[in-house]
């Protein structure tokens, strides 16, 4: 609207002025200047040249450096095209300087000429003109392919593709070079086919390679085309066994990058890997044996491993809470302090900031992130707020990219590398500050949930005002943000659709929804709760939109439906259950066990609001003839809370017995396998039946029980299983229990092992003593024998 207004006013004015200046229209005043008068004084000529230079300079710099379609970094352009761009830019600059010189002689003429030059320069580099004039090959993107081997001790392997030796990995090669060296083979190379197998003969394997092809005619039509290529890999005169690999990538108009990762087994290297894994496992066992109390020697050895970051410990801590203590200790040991005071905290904070700046990345899930959790409340929150406000107002990117895992969506790794970034990101220490502020916000929210804290009043508004990032502001909360969202909602209450203005919509799950409602329903604050109660119909509609969207293949429910479980039968989770259960029928994967799993997951999230009957109703919907193996069912039952698991499993067993005609394969084995699972859950009836079985059958079932525990029983639950087995009057079960007690030898498990070492049964005694001896041997291993091989030995290359 405004632009039309400006055009309507501005254009006629410009045209009139142009006509007047060029003499096409006459002034009503008589011209008093003599025809022989000079065309401007020296001062006016100099001034007009300077001004023209400034105006044209702005235009020129914008076109040369930032015009759409022209990369800012010439090194990313194909070489020939970069040269052409430079020639055009230099020519335009010379013409521009010429125009300035002409302006000194005849101002109007020079100015008009400069306008023409600038318009031409703005138009030519990105128009189709260059494409028509220059050879097509100049517009081909630069494509690089990188091949590497995955796994421990990788590097230095020799690679052949389509029988052409390419070199040692990791190896980067351009598409042009690759195309020249490696011929495409419609048929596999000699020696690839194995007459006796459908698999390729050793050492060959096949992988998908992304060729770059021009579909014809246009520089925009360079596409990636997947083709099958044949490779073999050698390392230290050993060909890789069990090879596989693949990759992918992509990029922009001018630069594309593909990465291929190959897996493979080299016998010599595998020995090293096994020894390294044994050392790593021994370190973890040492931590368990010392009741999760570790010292600096332990940490020094642990940090020599690639896995020696906190992620491994974090995963272990899910099932073994003792490892949280190890993580605390690791963070303190790394940063070299025991007690936290303000001065130490500030020094550690600065060290983390400096290290992050130097590395140009910050891992909130790493040791440094865990350390922040230990020291943040000793830092000056006012200073953190001031520093972060400055960063938000700076206009620079808050990071160049961030990565995380689905497993831990609260921990991100922030990359701050400015290379190839048009808008340079702020230093990585800003991500450290952000992390500290989020921790502060959580702490203050927990202390005073109904009062705005400093971060909510100072930082959340800046996220909206300077970054337009409602999501980031919503993660902090605060009454200012809540009021903002509510007012926006009253201004635009429509739930979805393309009819929503750009500023009012959010693209999620493949659709545009109302941004304000989207954030209001997810708001984890009292105001969010109030909104969800007051507008429960809108909230349920939003939940439905987010679940039933065609992009949400799994039909995962949004988190906010579980936000008011305390409301009982009025809670969103209860109200939404029928909708979700119906939606799951059309979900993907569409296998029966997958649908059952999704329903059980939802009911498990409902906690006590989910009745036994609801679980049973879900079970009864299942088509048993679609279930091929009992393990498919056992895997799903892990979703169910421990206290509800046994009664439900018993119900399922009874039902399986009743509906055994619906079981497709080996009904007896199927049911027996489920009975084995019940033994792991501590079901006395199933255990008694098992104990009374024939010795041969018992041994067979014992192996299957072990397999079930290994695959489907979590570390945390294995302790209960082991304790239950240890209580039984059966040596085999006790010995199996000893196996699991030895696996995670925390002190209480070692104590149980010692009890079993006094058992009346000699086999049990021996097994327990052996386990204790093995554990003692681990306890005695000096740490220098447990450092990673990668850090101590020169590996063969």
């Amino acid at each position: 609207m405004m632009h039309i207004f400006i055009l309507l006013i501005g254009l006629p004015v410009v045209v009139l002025v142009g006509l007047r200046v060029l003499g096409f229209t006459r002034s009503r005043h008589k011209n008093f200047v003599a025809a022989t008068a000079p065309a401007g004084s020296r001062i006016s000529r100099i001034a007009e040249c300077i001004v023209l230079l400034c105006i044209a300079g702005a235009f020129y710099l914008f076109t040369a450096a930032t015009t759409y379609g022209i990369p800012q970094n010439l090194s990313l352009l194909p070489h020939g095209l970069a040269r052409v761009q430079i020639i055009v830019a230099v020519t335009a600059l010379l013409l521009l300087l010429g125009c300035v010189a002409i302006t000194y002689w005849r101002a109007s003429f020079g100015i008009v000429l400069a306008a023409i030059v600038m318009a031409g320069y703005g138009f030519i580099p990105d128009s189709g003109l260059m494409e028509r004039v220059l050879p097509e090959a100049m517009f081909a993107p630069k494509v690089e392919h990188t091949f590497r081997m995955s796994g421990k001790f990788a590097g230095g392997e020799e690679l052949w593709i389509n029988n052409v030796y390419l070199g040692k990995m990791p190896l980067t090669i351009t598409w042009d070079e690759f195309r020249e060296k490696v011929p495409f083979m419609a048929e596999p190379p000699e020696g690839y086919k194995d007459e006796n197998s459908r698999q390729p003969a050793e050492p060959w394997f096949q992988f998908t390679f992304w060729e770059t092809k021009n579909l014809g005619g246009s520089r925009h039509s360079y596409v990636a085309d997947n083709q099958q290529y044949y490779a073999k890999i050698k390392f230290n005169d050993q060909w890789a066994e069990s090879r596989l690999g693949g990759g992918g990538g992509g990029g922009g108009r001018w630069y594309r990058q593909y990465e291929y990762s190959f897996g493979g087994y080299f016998p010599d290297r595998e020995k090293l890997i096994q020894e390294d894994n044994r050392r790593f496992e021994s370190l973890l066992q040492k931590a368990r044996l010392s009741n999760y109390t570790v010292d600096s020697e332990w940490w020094q050895a642990y940090s020599t491993f690639d896995e020696g970051d906190l992620w491994t410990l974090r995963r272990l801590a899910k099932d073994e809470p003792g490892f949280v203590k190890v993580m605390d200790a690791a963070a303190r040991l790394k940063y070299g302090f025991t007690a936290v005071d303000r001065q130490t905290a500030q020094a550690v904070f600065e060290r983390i900031c400096n290290e992050a700046d130097a590395a140009m990345r910050y891992d909130a899930g790493g040791v440094e992130g865990w350390e922040m959790g230990l020291i943040f409340d000793m830092l000056d929150v006012n200073r953190l707020v001031a520093d972060y406000s400055k960063a938000l107002k700076s206009g620079r990117s808050l990071y160049s990219s961030k990565s995380g895992s689905h497993e831990y969506d609260e921990y991100w790794t922030y990359n701050h590398d400015p290379k190839n970034e048009f808008y340079k990101p702020v230093p990585a220490s800003v991500s450290v500050i952000r992390h500290a502020l989020h921790l502060w916000d959580k702490k203050l929210d927990a202390e005073q949930p109904h009062r705005d804290n400093l971060i909510e009043t100072e930082i959340a508004p800046l996220y909206i005002a300077y970054r337009g990032d409602v999501g980031a502001a919503a993660s902090l909360g605060g009454s200012l943000l809540e009021e903002y969202l509510l007012r926006q909602f009253h201004r635009e209450p429509r739930l979805k659709g393309m009819g929503l203005d750009y500023e009012d919509r959010e693209y999620t799950e493949g659709q545009y929804v109302n941004k304000w409602i989207y954030h209001l329903v997810q708001l984890d604050t009292p105001a969010g709760k109030e909104f969800r109660q007051k507008h429960s119909d809108i909230t349920l509609q939003m939940a439905k939109l987010m679940t039933t969207s065609m992009h949400n293949h799994e039909k995962s429910p949004p988190e906010f439906v579980f936000s008011d479980l305390e409301r009982g039968q009025k809670s969103l989770a209860v109200q939404y259950w029928p909708e979700l259960s119906a939606a799951i029928d059309s979900s993907f994967p569409s296998r029966e066990e997958s649908k059952l799993q999704k329903r059980f997951q939802y009911l498990a999230r409902m906690g006590d609001l989910a009745t036994d009957q609801m679980y049973i109703d879900c079970w009864e919907k299942i088509n048993l003839d679609q279930i091929d193996y009992p393990s498919q069912l056992i895997g799903i039952l892990r979703e169910i809370p421990r206290q509800r698991l046994l009664p439900l499993a018993r119900y399922i067993l009874n039902d399986l017995n009743k509906r055994n005609d619906q079981i497709r394969y080996e009904q007896e084995w199927f049911i027996e396998e489920f009975e084995n699972y019940l033994i792991c859950l501590g079901d006395d009836t199933a255990t008694t039946a098992f104990l009374s079985s024939e010795p041969k059958e018992k041994q067979n079932r014992l192996d299957r029980i072990r397999s079930i525990i290994d695959q489907y029983v979590s570390q945390r639950d294995r302790e209960d299983v082991a304790a239950y087995f240890a209580e039984q009057n059966d040596a085999d079960l006790k010995i199996l229990g000893i196996h699991y007690l030895r696996e995670t030898p925390a002190p209480e498990r070692v104590a149980l092992l010692k009890t079993l070492a006094q058992d009346t049964d000699a086999a049990v005694r021996q097994a327990a003593e052996r386990a204790l001896n093995e554990l003692e041997a681990i306890r005695q291993i000096p740490y220098e024998l447990l450092v990673s091989l990668a850090s101590t030995s020169v590996l063969p290359q």
């Binding site: 632009h3 401007g40 300077i50 400034c54 009253h490």
Partner: protein, 216 residues
């Protein structure tokens, strides 16, 4: 050069209808504008353009009686130029300062909050940068338009080149602002170029003013 308050008052008296209107419009505009101000607000740009044109039009009517009158009262050309510039600056502040105070001290935000404007007070933090940009707009437009009339009144040909350059200056931001991908350094470079232009227009306007022809 001494300050002559009567001369300044004379010029301000000439400008008062324009300034009274500009102040009223700017106050009402700032108080009632329902969205939030960014530096590239088109309505504010139009307002500043019109106000600047009006100021220079009134002070630069070389063929008017008042112009001829004041240029024949014995004031030196430099004194006249300085007082015209001062009158222009005062005019700018008459329109800009109330707006800046209303935004900077939170009056606009409070009123709009009372109206339950969804954008305020949350966006208030960002509006002050727009206010400074408006001042920058005046700083570049006023010397330019003053140069245009001074150049036009020179006893030389090509008198329209000043106007032609002002058209170029109108077009350049109009063409560049809508693009989103300006380089991070561009603000500094554009600022520097603008500073050079302001200085050039001001100094050359001052020097050329000495040789302008008064006609009646």
């Amino acid at each position: 050069m001494k300050m002559k308050s009567s001369l300044l008052v004379f010029f301000l008296r000439c400008l008062w209808p324009v300034n009274a209107a500009a102040m009223s419009v700017s106050i009402l505009f700032v108080l009632l504008y329902p969205k939030y101000f960014l530096w590239n607000n088109a309505w504010a740009a139009v307002f500043i353009l019109i106000h600047s044109v009006a100021i220079t039009f009134i002070l630069g009517r070389v063929r008017s009686r008042s112009f001829a009158f004041i240029y024949t009262r014995g004031f030196s050309r430099d004194v006249l130029w300085l007082h015209k510039m001062l009158a222009s600056v005062v005019s700018v502040f008459v329109a800009w300062l109330p707006a800046a105070l209303l935004i900077g001290l939170g009056g606009r935000s409070a009123l709009q909050d009372w109206f339950r404007n969804p954008y305020l007070p949350i966006m208030a933090a960002r509006e002050m940068s727009a206010v400074w940009f408006w001042l920058f707009g005046y700083a570049i437009l006023l010397p330019m338009f003053h140069y245009v009339w001074i150049r036009k009144a020179q006893p030389t040909r090509s008198s329209g080149s000043g106007m032609l350059l002002s058209v170029g200056l109108f077009f350049t931001p109009s063409a560049l602002v809508p693009f989103g991908n300006h380089a991070p350094w561009s603000v500094m470079v554009y600022g520097l170029l603008a500073a050079v232009m302001i200085a050039t227009y001001t100094i050359s306007g001052f020097l050329l003013h000495r040789t302008l022809e008064v006609q009646k």
